[in-house]
Structures are given as C-alpha cells and as structure tokens.
Subunit: 344 residues, 2 copies
DNA sequence: TTGAAAGCGCTAACAT
DNA sequence: ATGTTAGCGCTTTCAA
C-alpha cells in the first residue's frame, strides 16, 4: 500500500493549488455550488453555504480572478493613464477615482505616460492586453492608433481634465481656454497693466497660457512675456522663472499667471528672496488650488478645480456605462473657480 | 446560399473577438504557431512570421493576457501596496519601482492602504485574487492574516522603507531608529540645547521621533516637546505645529525635527509669518530631501533617502527571485544621509 | 519548424 | 437548491 502510493505520486512535488474544486470536495458539493456561494450566496441554502465557508476558511482558498475573468469576459479591472503619478494634481484625482470605482468592485491598473502621446499609445496596447472593463485617459489629445485600439476594444472610455465635442466615448473636465480667459478677465478687473506667464510643458497648461495672453493682448496689453518649461512643474522652476522674468525679460511689476500652484509657490519664494513685495510689486496667480495654497505667504490666489468631483464624475460616467445605463451627455463640464486670496 | 447563411448565423450578432485562432486562419497556420510567433519568434520560420505579423496587423489582434496568465500561471503582474499615492515620498518610489519592473515586462497593480493594517490586509486578499507574480509592501508591520496569505501565495515579497531581521521574504530600506539617533547626534554636535519633534501619524515617523527624543534625553536634554498629527503631513500642519509649539508648549528656541520636508516647510513659513529667524531662533530639520528642500528660504537641512535607489533595489530583489536567482541577503539597508543646508 | 491534444480555474447556460 | 456540460483564449507538453 505504502509502496503503491510512492509509485503513484511519482515526481508529484508541486503543491497543488487550492481551487474551487478543492473547496467543493471538502464541503461535499460540486464546484459550481462553490462558485455560487461566492457570487450569489442567496441562491445557496444556508446549510451548504456554511459548509462551504468553513471549507474556504480551512483550505485558505483564494479565488482566482484570472480564471473568472476569462470565463465571464469581465475583468473587474479599470485601466487608468495619467501623465505623472508624482504630480499631486493627477495622483489625487486617481485617489478619488479609485475610491469611487472600488466601491463597485473594480480595481485600478494605473500607468504613467510622462506627458507623451507615443508612450500613451504603447501603454494602451499593453493595458488592453489585460482586458480591462473600462479605460480612463488624461486629456483629449491622443494618437490615432490609440483611439482605434480603444474604439476596437468596445469598452467605455472616459477622458478627464478637458472637454471636447468629440470625445472617444465620454469626457469630464473643463475648458482650459475658458480658464485662461477667465483669469485674464480677473486680471483686468483688478486693474493690472502688465502680466506674464509661467508655464510647465503640459499641453493643457499651454492652452490656458495662450488664451490668457491672447485675451490680454486683445485688451490692449503691449505684450505678455512668458517662461515655459518642458516637463513638470516644481518650486525650483517657479523660482527660476521669476528670476528669468526679472533678469532677462525686464519684468518689473505686474501679475504672473502660473500654470500650477507649485510654480506659483516658487515665484513667491523667489520674490521674497529678492525683496519684491507680493502683491505690490509682483502679483501671483496659481492654478489648481492645492492644499498648501491657502498657507503660503501671502496666501495664494489661484484657480480651483474640484478634483474630488472630477474623480467621482469620471467614475460614475464609467460605472453607468458598465451597468448599461444610457448616459445622455457625452461631455461633462465641471467648471473651475478663481479663488481670490492675497497674492493678486 | 444567402438564405442558408442567414439561417446558419441565427442571433449571431455579437462581434466575435479576434483571437489567435482568427489570426492563425488568416495566416494559414495553426493557433500554436501564432502563440510561438509572439512569444518565441526565433522558433518560427521568417516566412510564417511575416504572414502572421501581417495577419495581426490586418485583424488588429490584441493578445489576451488573462487567458495567457491562466494557462501559464504567470500573470506578469506585480501588486504594490503603499500608504498613500498622494504622498510624493511613496509615489516617487512607485515611479522608480514601476520603471524598473516594466523593463522586465511586468505591470503594476497599485493600491493605497491609508496607513491602515486592516485595509492592507483586505487589499492583499483582493490583490492575490489577480494572481500577481510578486508583491511589494510598505513597511514591516503587517497583520498576521496578511503575512499568512502572502506566505501561502508562495510568491516573492519585498517590504520597503524599513529593515528587519525577520522579513516576510525580503526587505529593502533603512533603520528609522538609526535615523532618529543620527539626527540627535547631529543636533548635539551643532550645539543645540533644546529640541522638539513635529511628526505625522506614520508608524515609521514615530519611531524616528522616539529614537531622536530618547537619545537627546539620555544626553541630558530636559525634555523634547512634540506635536504629532494623525494622518498625513502637509504645509498647513507644519505651520500649525510651530504655532502650537510656541503658543502652547512655550517653545522659545532650539531645533525642530520634522518627520517630513512638507511639515518642515510649513514650520519655515510659520516662522517667517511670526518673525522668527531661521536658524537663529528656530532651527529646522526635515526628512526626505524632496526636490523643493534645496529651494526653500532658507534652504532646508534634511535627511536624504535615495528613493530611486530604493525603488531599483526593491525591483531587482523581486526580479532576481522571479528569475529563480538565489538572493544571499534577505535584508538590504540602503542607509540615509543628513544633508546640511541652512535651516540647522 | 509546425501541429494536436490537454488543460489552466473559473462562469454560463441548461438541466434536474 | 444543486449539478452537468461546455467553453473562455491561451500555454504546455508531446508528436511529427
């Protein structure tokens, strides 16, 4: 007998994974019943349910969602592409979005595009390989192959942080052109005669900047000097920007519109280092209304975008489509708001 | 004929997904050959390879990794658990880690624990459901069920940001106790007679704080007042902390050790708002050496931890084990470094 | 170099 | 309330 066993189990030294079948045998039911106990417990009698739960506890069974996803064609995965995970503007959006979709049982597969369309396209290809149930994209500019892949996948897509009449599927955000114009109007209403732009290399930031400058030029400003950086915003770059504006572009006084609060904070610090008074000598307007904006010296005037709302709206747009609900509006504009504090 | 077709395809209105089989038929080969063309192109003749590639382009075939993962028992997925995605300390670690593992074809499934062990445990359960090939955890404190699940999964695990003699599998980080002591030594060497702590509610931060205070008390300091916050660090809380220290704890002068650069920055701002000179009245030491630390006013003295190195080491520890390489050391200490600038 | 067959662990019909 | 059967779209043997 013993010998027989030895012969039987040969090289069988790989630990068999615990599957539904394992649990089923222990509970004295069939494998499907275990599946039901997990997915539709009401359809299983209390007695069997208890036996199955016990068997699960005893075996330490962990459901295999990759098998489940293959069989059901639903992965319960949402792919999300953001430009940069270290940029709080995007990471906090992900935080809210993630929370909202998790409540419906979805997990997030997140990747960074580094603000590159090519990278984004490659990542979309990689991500679709996991058969996500939906996709979140940042911005409305995407390569054609990217759009095609997404369209071909036939899954809900939401583009965030911007609005367009022609989204891939749905989009939720606000108009960056309008934001730039609104800040220009604010600047004029407050009697500034000179203005400058400081901007990071974000396509949307550039559109705000351009709209801002255009509106001011049209209103009679002689020129709107600017300092633009490739890549991300930082306090260091904000300091550098003011230095350049003052030292190289002869910017003496006026208001500076920054494409992010981080840059604005840098401008504030550099102004202080140079003994420039804010807002008397240089006024500063940020963008984003990050948590620290209310606590700089002086408190920062900025443009608020409700990122929590953005995340929730993006999630509910996707969840609605995943639940087969008809969504009337393809485009949701959550707007923005100028928060006046003390720097302008 | 036409009629026949109609009858044949009944209700067949669901678009058949493009599978390897689809590609195979178009290329005139069997399905396995397509699989080989994708995974081991050298084992396929150039001619067939070309036909297959053409067929893939024509059909827009997107490989199904969920099927692949089920069959191969390798998901090419790494699960990562961090306390908070909006904390740059963790998000930048993820950025580096992600880059390193992506180079080997792995994707990241990331979730936030919100500094909670219970949440972490729940997330581990959820994540294991996706059958990741490896797991990254933040810190060395985990619930017992969490450890069990991970051990049971039989996959490589790396714990980051801390070191211990008894990791679940491997760990890479540095000693927070040693960091606290080192800062205390720095404080004494520089002749400070009074010190305080400002800390966020991070278990590791608390250990640094305690080691710092203990070392100073042992060295004869009368007391080390402290302000601790539950939850994350912020500039606002840094400002509030200095206010409390001065207004409520009669902290008149000395050095303040902050558990993060963000808190330190807040202290700096509040000091300025109160007309306190830095470092003459209050000296400040941060933690993390974030990019902005060199650009505050004055530039911030802080403790540098090489997060890029941490991410890379964590990745290579995991990748080595995934490749079946024997890893001699279970624990990697990447150390830290006090960066002296102008605030202390 | 290529193919046939057998699963991976689950869910989706369809019985009973 | 429970079970049977048939896949999901791949990879892994093993043959040819």
């Amino acid at each position: 007998m013993l010998k027989n066993q030895r012969v039987t189990d040969k090289e069988d030294r790989s630990p068999r994974p615990v599957t539904m079948e394992t649990v089923a045998r222990l509970a004295g039911v069939s494998q499907v019943t275990v599946s039901r106990a997990l997915n539709e417990p009401d359809k299983v009698s209390p007695a069997t349910l208890a036996r199955i739960r016990h068997a699960i506890a005893v075996t330490g069974y962990v459901p295999n969602l990759v098998a489940g996803a293959l069989a059901s064609k639903r992965s319960k995965l949402i792919a999300a592409l953001i430009p940069s995970i270290t940029n709080i503007v995007y990471s906090s959006l992900m935080q809210h979005f993630s929370q909202a979709v998790r409540a419906s049982g979805y997990q997030l597969l997140m990747s960074e595009t580094g603000f590159s369309q090519d990278e984004e396209q490659e990542l979309v290809a990689k991500l679709l390989t996991r058969r996500p149930d939906a996709v979140l994209l940042t911005g409305i500019r995407h390569s054609d192959p990217c759009r095609h892949m997404l369209l071909g996948a036939g899954i809900p897509v939401v583009e965030v942080w911007d609005v367009t009449e022609t989204p891939i599927d749905t989009c939720v955000g606000f108009s960056h052109t309008e934001a730039g114009k609104a800040v220009a109007a604010f600047v004029r209403e407050n009697g500034y005669r000179r203005a400058a732009n400081v901007s990071a290399g974000d396509e949307r930031a550039l559109r705000r900047k351009d709209a801002f400058a255009r509106a001011l030029i049209e209103a009679g400003f002689a020129s709107v000097p600017e300092v633009c950086f490739e890549g991300g915003a930082s306090i260091e770059r904000g300091r550098l920007a003011l230095a350049r504006l003052v030292d190289e572009q002869a910017f003496r006084d006026g208001v500076i519109f920054c494409s992010s609060d981080l840059l604005a904070h840098g401008v504030l610090i550099e102004a202080q280092a140079r003994g420039l008074r804010v807002p008397e000598d240089v006024a500063v307007i940020g963008f984003g209304d990050q948590v620290f904006a209310a606590h700089t010296l002086p408190p920062l005037t900025t443009v608020r975008v409700d990122r929590a709302l953005l995340g929730e709206r993006a999630a509910s747009a996707l969840l609605a489509r995943l639940n087969g609900v008809e969504v009337p509006e393809k485009t949701i504009d959550i707007g923005f708001e100028i928060v006046r504090r003390a720097t302008a």
